[in-house]
C-alpha cells in the first residue's frame, strides 16, 4: 500500500504489520494525551507534587532524557567537527533520538509548568542570573537546531526526493550541517551544564550544593561530561535494539566498538571527577554547611548503597569495561557496559532531583516521600510512545542507517582482481623474503 514511499531496495515489513506494531503505542499515546489534558485543564492537583516536592517524575525524566539525548550533539560534534567518519552510519539515528528526547522534554515541561500559554514570559522577561533561564533558552534553541537537522532526514524520503526543490534543499542543508553541529555543541554544553548547575547552586540544600568554579558549580561540568558519555551509549543501545527488532544488521560492529570506546573515555573522565567532587563534598563542602555528609545517607531508602551503586557499580565498572579493548570485542559485554553507563547517569539524575528534595534541611523538616500519580506516569509514557512512533515512521519512510542496503548482503564478496598466476607469484616471493629474513 505504501510501497512507493519506502526507500528503494530496503526491506520493510508489510503495511498491515506496521499498523499492528503502531497500535499499542498509539493506545499508550492516547492515554497519555488524556492525562495531559487533565493536568492542563484541571490543574496540577492531578499530580502528587506539592510546594515542597515540586520536582517529581517529570523533572527527573526531563533530566534523564536530555542526558540520553545528548548523543545527538556529541555524535554531531565527533562527526562534523572532529571528522570521525565512522559515525556517519549512526548520525541520523542520533539526530532522531535527540529530537525525540528534546521535544518530549520540552512538551512535558510545558505540562509541568502548568501554564503553557504563558511560556513566552520566560523569553520576554528573562532573569539572566537564573540557571533555569539559561536552560530554557538553550533547550528551545537546540530544539530548533534539531528540527533543522531532522529536515534532511525527512527529505531523504523517496517521494519527496522527486521534488527538485526538496532534493536540492536537502543537499544544501546537509552541506551546512557542520554549522548546526557547532551550534548544537555550544548550546548543549550550556544547557546540559546549567541543568547540573541548577542543583549545584542550591545553597539551602547542602546535599546538592557544590563549590563553584567561576560562576559555575562543579555539577555544571559533571552534567556535561556525563551526558556526553551516556548519550553515546544510548545511541549504541538503541541501534542494537532496532537491529534486534528489525532482525537486520544496520551498522558495522566497528561502529558499536567506537561508540563504546568514546563513551568509555568520557565516562572515565566523568567518574574520576565525580569521585573527586564527592570526596571534596564529604570532607569540606557539606561540613562547612553544618552537615556531616553521612547524615544524608542515614535513611534506608537512600543509604550509602545509592552512592556506591552510582559511582562504583554503574560508573567505574562500565568505564573500565568500555575502555578495555578486549572487553569491547565481546558484544554482550559492550552492550551491558553501555546499559550500565546509562543506568548510572539515570541514577545520578534521580539522586539530584528526588533525593535532594526528599531530604530534610531544617530541624523541623520531615523526610518527604513522593510517588507519582497515574497522570504523571501516563504523561511520561506519552513521551515514550511518541518517541517510538516517530522513530518507527522515520525508519520506515526514510533512511536512518545509510549502510543498511550494503549490509543486507548475506554474501561477503571476495573480489579477485589479480590474475591467479600473479597471486601465486606474489605469495611465492613473499615467502622467499620471509626465509631470507630468517
Amino acid at each position: 500500500m505504501d510501497k512507493k514511499l519506502i526507500p528503494r531496495g530496503l526491506q520493510r515489513t508489510s503495511f498491515g504489520n506496521f499498523l499492528l506494531w503502531l497500535f499499542p503505542w498509539v493506545a499508550l499515546l492516547s492515554v497519555g494525551l488524556y492525562a495531559i489534558y487533565l493536568c492542563l485543564a484541571e490543574g496540577l492537583n492531578h499530580t502528587n507534587m506539592d510546594n515542597r516536592f515540586a520536582f517529581g517524575l517529570w523533572i527527573y525524566l526531563d533530566l534523564t532524557i536530555i542526558a540520553l539525548g545528548a548523543g545527538a550533539f556529541f555524535t554531531g560534534f565527533l562527526l562534523y567537527i572532529l571528522r570521525r567518519h565512522e559515525l556517519k552510519s549512526v548520525i541520523n539515528s542520533a539526530v532522531v533520538l535527540g529530537l525525540i528526547c528534546y521535544s518530549g522534554a520540552v512538551g512535558i515541561l510545558m505540562v509541568d509548568v502548568g501554564q503553557p500559554l504563558r511560556a513566552w514570559f520566560t523569553f520576554w522577561h528573562p532573569n539572566v542570573h537564573s540557571m533555569l533561564t539559561e536552560v530554557t533558552f538553550c533547550l528551545t534553541c537546540y530544539l530548533i537546531v534539531l528540527l533543522i537537522e531532522y529536515v534532511p532526514i525527512v527529505l531523504k524520503n523517496r517521494k519527496l526526493r522527486q521534488i527538485p526543490k526538496f532534493l536540492v534543499f536537502e543537499f544544501q542543508l546537509h552541506k551546512l550541517m557542520p554549522v548546526f553541529a557547532g551550534i548544537g555543541t555550544f548550546l548543549s554544553f550550556f544547557h546540559q551544564g546549567s541543568l547540573g548547575g541548577l542543583f549545584g547552586v542550591l545553597r539551602g540544600r547542602p546535599f546538592a550544593f557544590r563549590e563553584a568554579f567561576g560562576i559555575w558549580p562543579s555539577t555544571f561540568f559533571l552534567f556535561v561530561l556525563s551526558a556526553a558519555a551516556a548519550g553515546l551509549s544510548f545511541v549504541m543501545l538503541t541501534t542494537w535494539l532496532v537491529q534486534k527488532i528489525t532482525k537486520k544488521q544496520l551498522v558495522k560492529p566497528e561502529v558499536f566498538k567506537f561508540l563504546g570506546k568514546i563513551s568509555g573515555i568520557m565516562l572515565s573522565v566523568y567518574i574520576l571527577l565525580k569521585a573527586i567532587d564527592t570526596l571534596v563534598w564529604i570532607n569540606a563542602t557539606s561540613l562547612s554547611a553544618g552537615f556531616p555528609a553521612f547524615e544524608f545517607y542515614a535513611r534506608k531508602s537512600f543509604g550509602t548503597w545509592i552512592l556506591f551503586t552510582e559511582i562504583v557499580v554503574l560508573g567505574m565498572i562500565p568505564a573500565l569495561l568500555l575502555t578495555s579493548r578486549r572487553m569491547r570485542e565481546r558484544p554482550k559485554i559492550l552492550l551491558l557496559a553501555g546499559l550500565m553507563a546509562c543506568g548510572g547517569i539515570m541514577l545520578n539524575r534521580f539522586v539530584m532531583t528526588i533525593q535532594t528534595l526528599a531530604l530534610p534541611t531544617l530541624p523541623f523538616d520531615a523526610f518527604l516521600s513522593y510517588s507519582p500519580s497515574w497522570e504523571e506516569i501516563a504523561a511520561f509514557l506519552f513521551v515514550v510512545a511518541y518517541g517510538v512512533i516517530l522513530y518507527s515512521l522515520t525508519y520506515r519512510y526514510s533512511v536512518i542507517f545509510p549502510q543498511e542496503r550494503e549490509l543486507q548482503s548475506p554474501v561477503p564478496v571476495q573480489y579477485e582482481t589479480q590474475p591467479f598466476s600473479e597471486r601465486v607469484a606474489e605469495k611465492f616471493f613473499s615467502a622467499l623474503t620471509f626465509f631470507k629474513a630468517k
Binding site: 539559561e134 526526493r161 543537499f171 552541506k175 548546526f180 542496503r405 582482481t417
Partner: protein, 276 residues
Amino acid sequence: MFPWVYEFHWSFGHLIFLGLFFSVLVTVVVTVIQAMQKTRKATLLNNVEKIRWHEDFEDLPLEARICRHELTGEVKHRTCDNGFDCRTCRMHPQLQLKRKAEFLQNGDANVFGFFMPNDRMYHRGHTYVKQESERTFTIGMDDFGQRLIGNAENIELPEIGTRLKVNETACTIKKLGATLRILSPIDGEVIDRFYENGDWKIIVRSDNSSLATNHLLRDAEIRPWIMREMERLQIAFATNKVGATLADGGELVPDFHKHFPKADWDGILGHMFLEA
C-alpha cells in the same frame, strides 16, 4: 529581552546572555536562509540533475563504486570519489600510465555471454557510446542492461536539441513498476533519437571529442567490469530471498526478470542502474 521591554537592564549579565542568545539565533536563521538561497540558485541554474547524481553516488554501496583501475589491477583497492568522472580525476592519468600492455589490447566481443563489442565504450550505468564521426556519437543500452530490463513498458526519450550531461538523466524507462533514470554517458546535444521494438538509441553531437569519452570503459576493461556487475546482481538477488542464483559459468538469459517475478525488481534495477 529588548531594551524597551520591562525589566531589561543595561548590565553586563544582560548584555552577555542576550548577546549570545541573539548571536545563536542569527547564525541559525542566516544558515537556513543561505541554504534556501543556494537551493533557489541551483534550481535556476538547472543543477538539480547534477545534485541528484551526487546524492545517488554518495548513497551507492562501496562495491558499486570501485575504481576502473582496481578492475584492471593497477591498484589493489580504490573506491571512486569522483562520480565515475575520470575526466576530472587527478589519479586517472597517473594510473593510466601504469596500465599493463595486456590491458591495452582489445578483448573479445563475447563477455560472459554478453555481446559487448569493442567498437563501443561503456558507461557504468549500462549505456554504451559508439563514435559515428568525429563529434557524433550514438548512445544505447548495453547488452547487460538490455537483458535485465528486456523491452521497456514505457520510455521517455529526450527531445531533439536537449543538452545531455554526463551522469545526468538521458532518458526514463518504466519497467516492472520501477521508474528508472538512465544516465547519460557523455555531454552533448541530442540531434536524433529512435525507438523500435524496445530498443532505443540517442544520437548526440559532442562538444569536445578529445575529452568526451575519457571516462568510459573500453577494450579489456569490459570483462572485469561485467564480472563485477554479475557479482553485484548476485548480491542484489541474495538480499531478496530468491536464493542462490547465477552459479559460475552461467549466462544471463534475455528477459531475465520473467524468471523471478516475485523479486523486488524496483530495488534490483535501482541498484544495477546506479540509482538510490
